[in-house]
Symmetry: C2
Subunit: 226 residues, 2 copies
Amino acid sequence: MVKKSRSSQRRDEALSRDRIIEASIAILDSGGEAGLTFRALSDRLATGPGAIYWHVANKSDLLTAACDAIVDRAMAACVVDATPEANIRAVALAMFDAIDAHPWLGSPRISAPGQLPMVRLLERIGQQVGALGVPREDQWAIVGALLHYILGVAGQNAANGKLAREQGFDRSKFLGEVSAAWSALDPDAYPFTRSVAGQMRDHDDRVDFVAGIDLILGGIARLQRR
Amino acid sequence: MVKKSRSSQRRDEALSRDRIIEASIAILDSGGEAGLTFRALSDRLATGPGAIYWHVANKSDLLTAACDAIVDRAMAACVVDATPEANIRAVALAMFDAIDAHPWLGSPRISAPGQLPMVRLLERIGQQVGALGVPREDQWAIVGALLHYILGVAGQNAANGKLAREQGFDRSKFLGEVSAAWSALDPDAYPFTRSVAGQMRDHDDRVDFVAGIDLILGGIARLQRR
DNA sequence: CAAACATATGGAACGTCATTCCATGACTTG
DNA sequence: CAAGTCATGGAATGACGTTCCATATGTTTG
Protein backbone atom coordinates (compact mmCIF):
# COMPACT_ATOMS: atom_id res chain seq x y z
CA MET A 1 0.00 0.00 0.00
CA VAL A 2 2.93 2.28 -0.45
CA LYS A 3 1.91 3.42 -3.91
CA LYS A 4 -0.41 6.19 -4.91
CA SER A 5 -0.21 8.61 -2.00
CA ARG A 6 -1.90 11.19 -4.23
CA SER A 7 -4.33 10.23 -6.88
CA SER A 8 -2.89 9.79 -10.30
CA GLN A 9 0.25 8.83 -12.14
CA ARG A 10 1.51 5.60 -13.54
CA ARG A 11 -1.64 3.59 -13.11
CA ASP A 12 -1.67 -0.07 -12.07
CA GLU A 13 -2.28 -1.08 -15.64
CA ALA A 14 -0.81 1.60 -17.85
CA LEU A 15 -3.00 3.40 -20.34
CA SER A 16 -2.08 2.61 -23.90
CA ARG A 17 -3.48 3.13 -27.38
CA ASP A 18 -4.42 -0.53 -27.53
CA ARG A 19 -6.25 -0.52 -24.22
CA ILE A 20 -8.13 2.59 -25.31
CA ILE A 21 -9.12 1.00 -28.61
CA GLU A 22 -10.29 -2.17 -26.87
CA ALA A 23 -12.41 -0.14 -24.49
CA SER A 24 -13.80 1.85 -27.42
CA ILE A 25 -14.80 -1.32 -29.23
CA ALA A 26 -16.58 -2.58 -26.14
CA ILE A 27 -18.48 0.69 -25.78
CA LEU A 28 -19.32 0.81 -29.49
CA ASP A 29 -20.62 -2.75 -29.37
CA SER A 30 -22.92 -2.06 -26.48
CA GLY A 31 -23.98 1.51 -27.16
CA GLY A 32 -23.38 2.18 -30.84
CA GLU A 33 -21.55 5.13 -32.31
CA ALA A 34 -23.53 7.57 -30.20
CA GLY A 35 -22.49 5.77 -27.03
CA LEU A 36 -18.81 6.37 -27.60
CA THR A 37 -17.95 9.59 -25.80
CA PHE A 38 -14.71 10.62 -24.23
CA ARG A 39 -16.50 10.81 -20.91
CA ALA A 40 -17.82 7.24 -21.14
CA LEU A 41 -14.36 6.17 -22.19
CA SER A 42 -12.79 8.04 -19.27
CA ASP A 43 -15.11 6.32 -16.82
CA ARG A 44 -14.48 2.85 -18.19
CA LEU A 45 -10.74 3.40 -18.12
CA ALA A 46 -10.84 5.18 -14.75
CA THR A 47 -9.04 8.24 -15.99
CA GLY A 48 -9.75 11.70 -17.36
CA PRO A 49 -10.38 12.84 -20.90
CA GLY A 50 -7.02 14.57 -21.02
CA ALA A 51 -5.11 11.34 -20.52
CA ILE A 52 -6.83 9.73 -23.50
CA TYR A 53 -5.77 12.55 -25.77
CA TRP A 54 -2.18 11.69 -25.02
CA HIS A 55 -2.61 8.40 -26.93
CA VAL A 56 -5.23 9.35 -29.51
CA ALA A 57 -5.41 12.41 -31.75
CA ASN A 58 -9.19 12.88 -31.68
CA LYS A 59 -12.44 11.03 -31.97
CA SER A 60 -12.13 10.51 -35.69
CA ASP A 61 -8.74 8.91 -35.19
CA LEU A 62 -10.21 6.71 -32.48
CA LEU A 63 -13.08 5.51 -34.66
CA THR A 64 -10.80 4.77 -37.58
CA ALA A 65 -8.49 2.83 -35.29
CA ALA A 66 -11.40 0.83 -33.87
CA CYS A 67 -12.64 0.01 -37.39
CA ASP A 68 -9.15 -0.95 -38.41
CA ALA A 69 -8.71 -3.30 -35.47
CA ILE A 70 -11.87 -5.16 -36.44
CA VAL A 71 -11.10 -5.26 -40.16
CA ASP A 72 -7.58 -6.41 -39.46
CA ARG A 73 -8.80 -9.32 -37.32
CA ALA A 74 -11.44 -10.28 -39.85
CA MET A 75 -8.93 -10.32 -42.68
CA ALA A 76 -6.40 -12.23 -40.62
CA ALA A 77 -8.90 -14.88 -39.57
CA CYS A 78 -10.03 -15.55 -43.10
CA VAL A 79 -7.98 -18.13 -44.95
CA VAL A 80 -7.75 -17.90 -48.71
CA ASP A 81 -6.45 -21.11 -50.18
CA ALA A 82 -9.23 -22.16 -52.55
CA THR A 83 -10.26 -20.91 -55.98
CA PRO A 84 -10.23 -17.15 -56.46
CA GLU A 85 -14.04 -17.10 -56.56
CA ALA A 86 -14.28 -19.00 -53.29
CA ASN A 87 -11.65 -16.73 -51.77
CA ILE A 88 -13.54 -13.61 -52.74
CA ARG A 89 -16.67 -15.10 -51.23
CA ALA A 90 -14.73 -15.93 -48.06
CA VAL A 91 -13.28 -12.44 -47.73
CA ALA A 92 -16.66 -10.84 -48.34
CA LEU A 93 -18.35 -13.11 -45.82
CA ALA A 94 -15.68 -12.40 -43.26
CA MET A 95 -16.46 -8.73 -43.67
CA PHE A 96 -20.18 -9.38 -43.50
CA ASP A 97 -19.82 -11.26 -40.25
CA ALA A 98 -17.60 -8.55 -38.81
CA ILE A 99 -20.16 -5.93 -39.80
CA ASP A 100 -22.96 -8.00 -38.35
CA ALA A 101 -21.13 -8.34 -35.05
CA HIS A 102 -20.13 -4.67 -34.99
CA PRO A 103 -22.75 -2.64 -36.87
CA TRP A 104 -20.91 0.61 -36.16
CA LEU A 105 -18.38 -0.49 -38.78
CA GLY A 106 -20.74 0.95 -41.33
CA SER A 107 -20.01 4.44 -40.14
CA PRO A 108 -18.34 6.61 -42.76
CA ARG A 109 -15.05 5.99 -40.99
CA ILE A 110 -14.45 2.63 -42.60
CA SER A 111 -14.91 4.13 -46.05
CA ALA A 112 -12.31 6.80 -45.49
CA PRO A 113 -10.10 6.37 -48.53
CA GLY A 114 -6.39 5.94 -48.10
CA GLN A 115 -6.96 4.96 -44.50
CA LEU A 116 -5.93 1.55 -43.27
CA PRO A 117 -9.32 -0.19 -43.03
CA MET A 118 -10.25 0.43 -46.63
CA VAL A 119 -6.78 -0.36 -47.92
CA ARG A 120 -6.68 -3.72 -46.14
CA LEU A 121 -9.90 -4.72 -47.80
CA LEU A 122 -8.92 -3.31 -51.18
CA GLU A 123 -5.69 -5.26 -51.15
CA ARG A 124 -7.25 -8.53 -50.11
CA ILE A 125 -9.95 -8.38 -52.75
CA GLY A 126 -7.62 -6.99 -55.36
CA GLN A 127 -5.25 -9.92 -55.02
CA GLN A 128 -8.07 -12.38 -55.56
CA VAL A 129 -9.46 -10.51 -58.54
CA GLY A 130 -5.97 -10.56 -59.97
CA ALA A 131 -5.82 -14.32 -59.42
CA LEU A 132 -9.08 -14.61 -61.31
CA GLY A 133 -7.21 -13.67 -64.44
CA VAL A 134 -9.00 -10.39 -65.01
CA PRO A 135 -7.07 -8.13 -67.41
CA ARG A 136 -5.10 -5.52 -65.55
CA GLU A 137 -7.05 -2.60 -66.97
CA ASP A 138 -10.37 -4.05 -65.78
CA GLN A 139 -9.26 -4.86 -62.25
CA TRP A 140 -9.81 -1.43 -60.80
CA ALA A 141 -13.45 -1.18 -61.79
CA ILE A 142 -14.23 -4.73 -60.69
CA VAL A 143 -12.57 -4.40 -57.31
CA GLY A 144 -14.35 -1.09 -56.89
CA ALA A 145 -17.71 -2.71 -57.58
CA LEU A 146 -17.10 -5.44 -55.00
CA LEU A 147 -15.85 -2.92 -52.48
CA HIS A 148 -18.76 -0.56 -52.98
CA TYR A 149 -21.22 -3.40 -52.66
CA ILE A 150 -19.67 -4.64 -49.41
CA LEU A 151 -19.49 -1.16 -47.96
CA GLY A 152 -23.06 -0.50 -49.05
CA VAL A 153 -24.23 -3.47 -47.04
CA ALA A 154 -22.16 -2.25 -44.13
CA GLY A 155 -23.80 1.15 -44.28
CA GLN A 156 -27.22 -0.39 -44.50
CA ASN A 157 -26.54 -2.53 -41.46
CA ALA A 158 -25.30 0.44 -39.51
CA ALA A 159 -28.40 2.43 -40.44
CA ASN A 160 -30.65 -0.45 -39.43
CA GLY A 161 -28.90 -0.89 -36.12
CA LYS A 162 -28.99 2.81 -35.39
CA LEU A 163 -32.66 3.17 -36.17
CA ALA A 164 -33.57 0.06 -34.23
CA ARG A 165 -31.59 1.34 -31.27
CA GLU A 166 -33.18 4.78 -31.42
CA GLN A 167 -36.61 3.22 -31.36
CA GLY A 168 -35.64 0.67 -28.74
CA PHE A 169 -36.70 -2.23 -30.94
CA ASP A 170 -35.01 -5.54 -31.42
CA ARG A 171 -34.27 -6.67 -34.93
CA SER A 172 -37.32 -8.81 -35.58
CA LYS A 173 -39.78 -6.30 -34.18
CA PHE A 174 -38.07 -3.62 -36.23
CA LEU A 175 -38.32 -5.61 -39.46
CA GLY A 176 -41.94 -6.27 -38.67
CA GLU A 177 -42.61 -2.55 -38.35
CA VAL A 178 -40.97 -1.76 -41.66
CA SER A 179 -42.76 -4.62 -43.36
CA ALA A 180 -46.10 -3.40 -42.04
CA ALA A 181 -45.37 0.16 -43.17
CA TRP A 182 -44.50 -1.08 -46.66
CA SER A 183 -47.68 -3.12 -46.84
CA ALA A 184 -49.68 -0.02 -46.09
CA LEU A 185 -48.25 2.00 -49.00
CA ASP A 186 -50.37 3.15 -51.92
CA PRO A 187 -50.71 0.13 -54.30
CA ASP A 188 -50.60 2.32 -57.39
CA ALA A 189 -47.49 4.26 -56.51
CA TYR A 190 -45.56 1.48 -54.74
CA PRO A 191 -46.50 -1.90 -56.27
CA PHE A 192 -43.05 -3.39 -56.03
CA THR A 193 -42.35 -2.28 -52.47
CA ARG A 194 -45.65 -3.75 -51.37
CA SER A 195 -44.93 -7.01 -53.16
CA VAL A 196 -41.67 -7.51 -51.29
CA ALA A 197 -42.90 -6.38 -47.89
CA GLY A 198 -43.20 -9.98 -46.78
CA GLN A 199 -39.69 -10.86 -47.87
CA MET A 200 -38.45 -7.82 -45.99
CA ARG A 201 -39.71 -9.39 -42.79
CA ASP A 202 -38.47 -12.93 -43.34
CA HIS A 203 -35.31 -12.59 -45.39
CA ASP A 204 -31.87 -13.73 -44.31
CA ASP A 205 -29.35 -10.90 -44.65
CA ARG A 206 -26.42 -13.24 -44.99
CA VAL A 207 -27.98 -15.28 -47.79
CA ASP A 208 -28.94 -12.15 -49.69
CA PHE A 209 -25.44 -10.80 -49.21
CA VAL A 210 -23.80 -13.81 -50.85
CA ALA A 211 -26.38 -13.67 -53.62
CA GLY A 212 -25.18 -10.16 -54.41
CA ILE A 213 -21.56 -11.22 -54.40
CA ASP A 214 -22.41 -14.12 -56.71
CA LEU A 215 -24.21 -11.75 -59.04
CA ILE A 216 -21.09 -9.65 -59.38
CA LEU A 217 -18.91 -12.74 -59.75
CA GLY A 218 -21.27 -13.93 -62.46
CA GLY A 219 -20.90 -10.60 -64.22
CA ILE A 220 -17.14 -11.00 -64.14
CA ALA A 221 -17.32 -14.53 -65.55
CA ARG A 222 -19.55 -13.26 -68.30
CA LEU A 223 -17.03 -10.56 -69.21
CA GLN A 224 -14.26 -13.10 -69.46
CA ARG A 225 -16.11 -15.42 -71.78
CA ARG A 226 -16.02 -12.86 -74.54
CA MET B 1 -43.20 50.99 -42.01
CA VAL B 2 -46.23 50.22 -39.99
CA LYS B 3 -45.37 46.61 -39.55
CA LYS B 4 -43.26 44.94 -36.92
CA SER B 5 -43.32 47.40 -34.06
CA ARG B 6 -41.77 44.73 -31.88
CA SER B 7 -39.53 42.14 -33.38
CA SER B 8 -41.19 38.93 -34.28
CA GLN B 9 -44.41 37.34 -35.43
CA ARG B 10 -45.81 36.54 -38.82
CA ARG B 11 -42.71 37.19 -40.79
CA ASP B 12 -42.68 38.78 -44.24
CA GLU B 13 -42.19 35.41 -45.83
CA ALA B 14 -43.67 32.81 -43.53
CA LEU B 15 -41.54 30.00 -42.18
CA SER B 16 -42.52 26.61 -43.53
CA ARG B 17 -41.20 23.09 -43.63
CA ASP B 18 -40.32 23.51 -47.29
CA ARG B 19 -38.45 26.74 -46.77
CA ILE B 20 -36.52 25.14 -43.94
CA ILE B 21 -35.63 22.14 -46.08
CA GLU B 22 -34.52 24.37 -48.95
CA ALA B 23 -32.29 26.35 -46.62
CA SER B 24 -30.90 23.11 -45.17
CA ILE B 25 -30.01 21.84 -48.62
CA ALA B 26 -28.22 25.09 -49.41
CA ILE B 27 -26.24 24.88 -46.19
CA LEU B 28 -25.45 21.20 -46.69
CA ASP B 29 -24.23 21.88 -50.21
CA SER B 30 -21.87 24.60 -49.13
CA GLY B 31 -20.75 23.34 -45.74
CA GLY B 32 -21.37 19.61 -45.65
CA GLU B 33 -23.13 17.70 -42.96
CA ALA B 34 -21.06 19.36 -40.25
CA GLY B 35 -22.10 22.79 -41.47
CA LEU B 36 -25.77 22.18 -40.91
CA THR B 37 -26.49 23.45 -37.40
CA PHE B 38 -29.69 24.87 -36.04
CA ARG B 39 -27.84 28.10 -35.43
CA ALA B 40 -26.67 28.40 -39.01
CA LEU B 41 -30.17 27.58 -40.11
CA SER B 42 -31.65 30.18 -37.75
CA ASP B 43 -29.34 32.84 -39.09
CA ARG B 44 -30.09 32.05 -42.71
CA LEU B 45 -33.80 32.09 -42.06
CA ALA B 46 -33.58 35.12 -39.77
CA THR B 47 -35.33 33.41 -36.89
CA GLY B 48 -34.52 31.47 -33.71
CA PRO B 49 -33.95 27.78 -33.16
CA GLY B 50 -37.27 27.42 -31.40
CA ALA B 51 -39.26 28.47 -34.45
CA ILE B 52 -37.61 25.77 -36.56
CA TYR B 53 -38.64 23.08 -34.13
CA TRP B 54 -42.24 24.01 -34.74
CA HIS B 55 -41.93 22.67 -38.29
CA VAL B 56 -39.33 19.94 -37.89
CA ALA B 57 -39.07 17.21 -35.25
CA ASN B 58 -35.31 17.18 -34.88
CA LYS B 59 -32.08 17.15 -36.84
CA SER B 60 -32.48 13.57 -37.96
CA ASP B 61 -35.89 14.36 -39.36
CA LEU B 62 -34.44 17.37 -41.12
CA LEU B 63 -31.63 15.40 -42.73
CA THR B 64 -33.98 12.66 -43.88
CA ALA B 65 -36.30 15.26 -45.37
CA ALA B 66 -33.43 16.95 -47.18
CA CYS B 67 -32.26 13.61 -48.59
CA ASP B 68 -35.79 12.80 -49.61
CA ALA B 69 -36.24 16.08 -51.43
CA ILE B 70 -33.14 15.39 -53.52
CA VAL B 71 -33.97 11.75 -54.20
CA ASP B 72 -37.49 12.70 -55.15
CA ARG B 73 -36.29 15.26 -57.67
CA ALA B 74 -33.72 12.89 -59.10
CA MET B 75 -36.30 10.12 -59.56
CA ALA B 76 -38.82 12.51 -61.04
CA ALA B 77 -36.34 13.94 -63.54
CA CYS B 78 -35.30 10.55 -64.81
CA VAL B 79 -37.42 9.17 -67.61
CA VAL B 80 -37.71 5.43 -67.98
CA ASP B 81 -39.08 4.53 -71.38
CA ALA B 82 -36.38 2.34 -72.86
CA THR B 83 -35.42 -1.27 -72.20
CA PRO B 84 -35.38 -2.35 -68.55
CA GLU B 85 -31.59 -2.55 -68.60
CA ALA B 86 -31.31 0.99 -69.96
CA ASN B 87 -33.86 2.17 -67.42
CA ILE B 88 -31.93 0.66 -64.52
CA ARG B 89 -28.80 2.33 -65.83
CA ALA B 90 -30.69 5.62 -66.10
CA VAL B 91 -32.07 5.42 -62.56
CA ALA B 92 -28.68 4.49 -61.16
CA LEU B 93 -26.99 7.32 -63.03
CA ALA B 94 -29.60 9.79 -61.85
CA MET B 95 -28.76 8.78 -58.31
CA PHE B 96 -25.05 8.98 -59.01
CA ASP B 97 -25.37 12.50 -60.34
CA ALA B 98 -27.50 13.53 -57.37
CA ILE B 99 -24.92 12.08 -55.01
CA ASP B 100 -22.15 13.81 -56.88
CA ALA B 101 -23.91 17.15 -56.66
CA HIS B 102 -24.84 16.64 -52.99
CA PRO B 103 -22.21 14.42 -51.37
CA TRP B 104 -23.94 14.63 -47.98
CA LEU B 105 -26.57 12.25 -49.45
CA GLY B 106 -24.22 9.46 -48.50
CA SER B 107 -24.86 10.09 -44.83
CA PRO B 108 -26.53 7.15 -43.08
CA ARG B 109 -29.81 9.04 -43.34
CA ILE B 110 -30.48 8.02 -46.89
CA SER B 111 -30.08 4.37 -45.97
CA ALA B 112 -32.63 4.52 -43.20
CA PRO B 113 -34.91 1.65 -44.08
CA GLY B 114 -38.62 2.17 -44.33
CA GLN B 115 -37.98 5.88 -44.71
CA LEU B 116 -39.02 7.67 -47.85
CA PRO B 117 -35.69 8.16 -49.61
CA MET B 118 -34.85 4.45 -49.62
CA VAL B 119 -38.34 3.39 -50.54
CA ARG B 120 -38.49 5.68 -53.55
CA LEU B 121 -35.30 4.15 -54.89
CA LEU B 122 -36.35 0.61 -54.02
CA GLU B 123 -39.59 1.02 -55.86
CA ARG B 124 -38.06 2.53 -58.95
CA ILE B 125 -35.42 -0.13 -59.30
CA GLY B 126 -37.79 -2.91 -58.31
CA GLN B 127 -40.19 -2.03 -61.10
CA GLN B 128 -37.43 -2.23 -63.67
CA VAL B 129 -36.07 -5.49 -62.34
CA GLY B 130 -39.59 -6.87 -62.55
CA ALA B 131 -39.81 -5.69 -66.16
CA LEU B 132 -36.58 -7.52 -66.80
CA GLY B 133 -38.48 -10.76 -66.36
CA VAL B 134 -36.63 -11.89 -63.26
CA PRO B 135 -38.60 -14.59 -61.37
CA ARG B 136 -40.49 -13.14 -58.46
CA GLU B 137 -38.52 -15.04 -55.84
CA ASP B 138 -35.19 -13.69 -57.14
CA GLN B 139 -36.26 -10.06 -57.36
CA TRP B 140 -35.63 -9.18 -53.74
CA ALA B 141 -31.99 -10.28 -53.73
CA ILE B 142 -31.26 -8.63 -57.07
CA VAL B 143 -32.84 -5.32 -56.16
CA GLY B 144 -30.99 -5.49 -52.85
CA ALA B 145 -27.69 -5.96 -54.64
CA LEU B 146 -28.28 -2.95 -56.91
CA LEU B 147 -29.42 -0.84 -53.99
CA HIS B 148 -26.48 -1.77 -51.81
CA TYR B 149 -24.10 -1.04 -54.61
CA ILE B 150 -25.57 2.38 -55.27
CA LEU B 151 -25.65 3.28 -51.60
CA GLY B 152 -22.12 2.01 -51.20
CA VAL B 153 -20.97 4.45 -53.84
CA ALA B 154 -22.95 7.16 -52.11
CA GLY B 155 -21.25 6.44 -48.80
CA GLN B 156 -17.86 6.41 -50.43
CA ASN B 157 -18.51 9.77 -52.06
CA ALA B 158 -19.64 11.23 -48.76
CA ALA B 159 -16.53 9.94 -47.02
CA ASN B 160 -14.32 11.37 -49.76
CA GLY B 161 -16.02 14.72 -49.61
CA LYS B 162 -15.83 14.87 -45.86
CA LEU B 163 -12.17 13.97 -45.70
CA ALA B 164 -11.30 16.38 -48.49
CA ARG B 165 -13.20 19.13 -46.72
CA GLU B 166 -11.52 18.42 -43.38
CA GLN B 167 -8.13 18.68 -44.99
CA GLY B 168 -9.10 21.66 -47.09
CA PHE B 169 -8.15 19.94 -50.31
CA ASP B 170 -9.91 20.01 -53.60
CA ARG B 171 -10.74 16.74 -55.25
CA SER B 172 -7.74 16.39 -57.52
CA LYS B 173 -5.21 17.31 -54.87
CA PHE B 174 -6.92 14.91 -52.52
CA LEU B 175 -6.76 12.03 -55.01
CA GLY B 176 -3.14 12.87 -55.60
CA GLU B 177 -2.39 12.57 -51.90
CA VAL B 178 -4.08 9.19 -51.62
CA SER B 179 -2.40 7.95 -54.75
CA ALA B 180 0.99 9.01 -53.40
CA ALA B 181 0.30 7.32 -50.06
CA TRP B 182 -0.64 4.10 -51.82
CA SER B 183 2.49 4.19 -53.94
CA ALA B 184 4.56 4.41 -50.79
CA LEU B 185 3.13 1.22 -49.26
CA ASP B 186 5.21 -1.88 -48.64
CA PRO B 187 5.44 -3.74 -52.00
CA ASP B 188 5.30 -7.15 -50.34
CA ALA B 189 2.23 -6.52 -48.21
CA TYR B 190 0.31 -4.32 -50.65
CA PRO B 191 1.15 -5.28 -54.24
CA PHE B 192 -2.34 -4.75 -55.58
CA THR B 193 -2.94 -1.41 -53.89
CA ARG B 194 0.37 -0.14 -55.26
CA SER B 195 -0.46 -1.37 -58.72
CA VAL B 196 -3.69 0.62 -58.86
CA ALA B 197 -2.36 3.78 -57.21
CA GLY B 198 -2.12 5.43 -60.60
CA GLN B 199 -5.67 4.56 -61.58
CA MET B 200 -6.82 5.93 -58.25
CA ARG B 201 -5.52 9.33 -59.29
CA ASP B 202 -6.82 9.38 -62.84
CA HIS B 203 -10.02 7.35 -62.78
CA ASP B 204 -13.46 8.68 -63.66
CA ASP B 205 -15.93 7.93 -60.87
CA ARG B 206 -18.90 8.03 -63.18
CA VAL B 207 -17.45 5.57 -65.68
CA ASP B 208 -16.47 3.17 -62.91
CA PHE B 209 -19.91 3.48 -61.43
CA VAL B 210 -21.66 2.37 -64.65
CA ALA B 211 -19.12 -0.41 -65.01
CA GLY B 212 -20.27 -1.75 -61.65
CA ILE B 213 -23.93 -1.50 -62.62
CA ASP B 214 -23.17 -3.33 -65.86
CA LEU B 215 -21.36 -6.03 -63.95
CA ILE B 216 -24.45 -6.66 -61.86
CA LEU B 217 -26.70 -6.50 -64.93
CA GLY B 218 -24.42 -9.01 -66.58
CA GLY B 219 -24.77 -11.29 -63.59
CA ILE B 220 -28.54 -11.08 -63.89
CA ALA B 221 -28.44 -11.88 -67.61
CA ARG B 222 -26.25 -14.87 -66.84
CA LEU B 223 -28.73 -16.14 -64.28
CA GLN B 224 -31.55 -15.93 -66.77
CA ARG B 225 -29.82 -17.88 -69.47
CA ARG B 226 -29.90 -21.02 -67.36
C1' DC C 1 23.06 10.89 -5.96
C1' DA C 2 20.83 15.07 -7.62
C1' DA C 3 19.22 17.90 -10.87
C1' DA C 4 17.00 18.30 -15.51
C1' DC C 5 14.10 16.56 -18.89
C1' DA C 6 10.78 13.95 -21.41
C1' DT C 7 6.67 11.14 -20.52
C1' DA C 8 2.11 10.57 -18.67
C1' DT C 9 -1.84 11.68 -16.05
C1' DG C 10 -6.44 13.51 -14.94
C1' DG C 11 -9.35 17.31 -13.44
C1' DA C 12 -11.13 21.81 -14.69
C1' DA C 13 -12.56 24.95 -18.08
C1' DC C 14 -14.17 26.51 -22.83
C1' DG C 15 -17.02 26.91 -26.68
C1' DT C 16 -20.47 24.62 -29.50
C1' DC C 17 -24.11 21.85 -30.33
C1' DA C 18 -29.19 19.91 -30.24
C1' DT C 19 -32.98 20.51 -27.75
C1' DT C 20 -36.54 22.42 -24.36
C1' DC C 21 -39.11 26.09 -22.30
C1' DC C 22 -41.77 30.01 -22.23
C1' DA C 23 -43.41 34.70 -22.73
C1' DT C 24 -45.27 36.97 -26.35
C1' DG C 25 -47.64 38.35 -30.45
C1' DA C 26 -50.68 37.68 -34.47
C1' DC C 27 -54.35 35.45 -36.95
C1' DT C 28 -59.07 32.88 -36.56
C1' DT C 29 -63.37 31.85 -34.78
C1' DG C 30 -67.73 32.85 -32.30
C1' DC D 1 -64.20 42.30 -29.46
C1' DA D 2 -63.10 38.36 -26.49
C1' DA D 3 -61.24 33.67 -26.33
C1' DG D 4 -58.50 30.31 -28.26
C1' DT D 5 -55.16 28.49 -31.45
C1' DC D 6 -51.05 28.95 -34.14
C1' DA D 7 -46.35 30.62 -34.57
C1' DT D 8 -42.39 32.87 -33.20
C1' DG D 9 -37.78 33.57 -31.34
C1' DG D 10 -34.81 34.39 -27.36
C1' DA D 11 -33.00 32.33 -23.16
C1' DA D 12 -31.67 28.39 -20.60
C1' DT D 13 -30.05 23.45 -20.22
C1' DG D 14 -27.10 19.67 -20.42
C1' DA D 15 -23.88 16.90 -23.12
C1' DC D 16 -20.29 16.77 -26.01
C1' DG D 17 -15.23 17.24 -28.14
C1' DT D 18 -11.33 19.41 -27.13
C1' DT D 19 -7.65 22.31 -24.76
C1' DC D 20 -4.99 23.64 -20.84
C1' DC D 21 -2.35 23.02 -16.95
C1' DA D 22 -0.66 21.58 -12.50
C1' DT D 23 1.30 17.63 -11.14
C1' DA D 24 3.67 13.23 -10.67
C1' DT D 25 6.54 9.48 -12.45
C1' DG D 26 10.67 7.45 -15.24
C1' DT D 27 14.90 8.31 -17.45
C1' DT D 28 18.94 10.54 -18.64
C1' DT D 29 22.77 13.50 -17.59
C1' DG D 30 26.64 15.83 -14.73
